[in-house]
């Protein structure tokens, strides 16, 4: 009897403690709850596995030429990875193109390792070499964690891509008349409970452009920026955007330049 009764005072004390906590929880907004949930998840972000995979892929001799990617120039010189992510997309003189991290990786895998660029670009997300590109992009982004976005805009092509990206951002189409701007051009809006970053300006540290690549808990998968854009277009009810197309790179320039000064937390973890 005594033994059975013993826990009660403890439970009552716990209950008394819980009541004010519950009241506090009710006044807490749904987004606070989601932020808290994300914070808890950060301790075990599966993105770390992709980071490790990406780093080993970078250093591994692969492809028809059995070469590593250690001479790949991501914009800061061959082999320089730290800091490269927060300055992409940018203009590359050797290809004469503005490239994001993923299209640049395709170039490096083709020129250094001998992969067929056309085949790489056509590979579905999550499959074969595309999964490797995503892992590489994850590691490259992680090497710039905590740094602030500062995309170069000195080259005329970089300026031109910003202007093209801006136009693409506001382009309305599809059966629902959506553009990127439909959801991402005003502060403080939501779809259901999902908060929407305003991508026409710096939306803040680790928000929007500064959070991807990210591990998507609901998808159980690592999502690169190219896949993030791809799924935005799916939800906009548009047709399928080409991987690393000028359109997607231009959108990256527009969002990246707008995010100037935002601290990168990539790879982040998302619902």
């Amino acid at each position: 009897m005594n033994k059975r009764n013993a826990p009660w005072p403890k439970a009552a004390a716990a209950l008394a403690l819980a009541i004010p906590l519950m009241a506090a929880a009710q006044t807490k907004s749904a987004s606070d709850g989601i932020a808290e949930y994300r914070k808890m998840l950060e301790d075990g972000n599966p993105a770390e596995l992709y980071e490790a995979k990406g780093e080993s892929l970078w250093k591994q001799a692969r492809g028809p030429k059995k070469a590593t990617l250690e001479k790949c120039d991501l914009g800061l010189g061959p082999g320089v990875v730290k800091g490269a992510w927060v300055q992409l997309p940018r203009y590359f003189a050797d290809t004469g193109k503005v490239q994001d991290v993923e299209s640049r990786l395709v170039t490096c895998m083709a020129t250094l390792q001998g992969f067929n660029a056309d085949e790489l670009v056509k590979t579905a997300f999550g499959r074969g070499e595309m999964a490797n590109i995503t892992a590489l992009a994850t590691w490259i982004a992680a090497e710039s964690r905590g740094l602030k976005f500062n995309l170069p805009q000195a080259h005329l092509e970089e300026q031109r891509f910003y202007e093209l990206g801006k136009r693409a951002f506001f382009f309305r189409g599809g059966p629902m008349d959506f553009s990127c701007a439909s959801c991402h051009s005003v502060d403080g809006k939501r779809i259901r409970l999902q908060e929407l970053p305003n991508l026409t300006k710096n939306p803040g540290d680790g928000i929007g452009f500064a959070a991807w690549p990210a591990y998507r808990v609901s998808q159980g998968a690592m999502w690169s920026m190219q896949l993030r854009l791809n799924d935005c277009y799916r939800q906009q009810r548009f047709p399928y955007p080409g991987f690393a197309s000028d359109l997607t790179v231009a959108l990256g320039v527009y969002m990246g330049v707008n995010a100037k000064g935002a601290e990168s937390i990539a790879p982040a973890i998302k619902r």
């Binding site: 749904a30 189409g173 599809g174 059966p175 939501r190 999902q194 929407l196 080409g242 000028d246």
Partner: protein, 228 residues
């Protein structure tokens, strides 16, 4: 690059190399004092870039990026001029198909089910038949008191009918608000050019019966939107 090395070894190649150098110098000069293309030229370039970027996937074909006036006029960070806005609104109003027999309202329970649905029309959906589509309402609007997971892109529609004094939807007094709401759902640009809301009837996202159900959710005095 290999090709160039080969060319450079021949005398002809040397001439080409010299020409190339001259061309590069000329280009450098051009780039040095070059400026961006005009805004109009950038518009043309952006349109071309968008056109080549997309391919068909499932039900989502590339014809989806061919814009009509309402889309092209509303594709910048600025609103179109007053004349264009008028034209967009007039064209939109002309597309509205009014309900057969003046029957505006269906079943609010069906309307609630539709309002909750966010599916339809993506390249991973199987069909463009409106019957497979949700009405997407809660994505952007508060509607009933019970549903707290609502978006905020559109205005709150909570107590929509009650706040507009719709006590008896079959009364002549209620007709203007019924007509307004029907047209707004059919083609949102009818009252506001560049509205952020899809043109549900015009774009065949919902059929007439589905629109009646959504209408009932908003306007039926028995709907929880108006009773709670």
């Amino acid at each position: 690059m290999k090709k160039f090395h080969h060319t450079f070894r021949t005398p002809q190649g040397l001439r080409s190399a010299a020409l190339l150098t001259a061309a590069a110098a000329a280009l450098a000069t051009t780039v040095g004092c070059a400026s961006l293309p005009s805004p109009k030229e950038l518009d043309t370039q952006a349109a071309a870039m968008i056109k080549v970027a997309f391919r068909d996937e499932g039900i989502a074909k590339v014809d989806r990026i061919q814009q009509d006036l309402a889309q092209s006029a509303c594709s910048s960070d600025k609103m179109p001029g007053p004349e264009t806005m008028q034209k967009v609104m007039q064209e939109a109003m002309a597309t509205v198909k009014w309900p057969a027999n003046g029957r505006y309202l269906g079943d609010w329970k069906e309307g609630e089910r539709l309002a909750q649905g966010g599916r339809g029309m993506t390249w991973t959906d199987k069909t463009t038949d409106p019957k497979a589509n949700g009405a997407q309402c809660y994505n952007c609007h508060q509607i009933s008191k019970a549903e707290i997971s609502y978006g905020t892109i559109g205005p709150s529609l909570y107590q929509y009918g009650k706040l507009r004094g719709v006590a008896d939807p079959s009364s002549p007094a209620a007709e203007p608000i019924l007509k307004y709401t029907w047209a707004k759902i059919w083609n949102s640009n009818a009252y506001m050019a560049c509205s952020g809301m899809p043109r549900f009837g015009h774009a065949k996202l919902l059929n007439e019966d589905q629109i009646r159900h959504v209408m009932a959710l908003l306007l039926d005095p028995q709907s929880p939107v108006n009773t709670q």
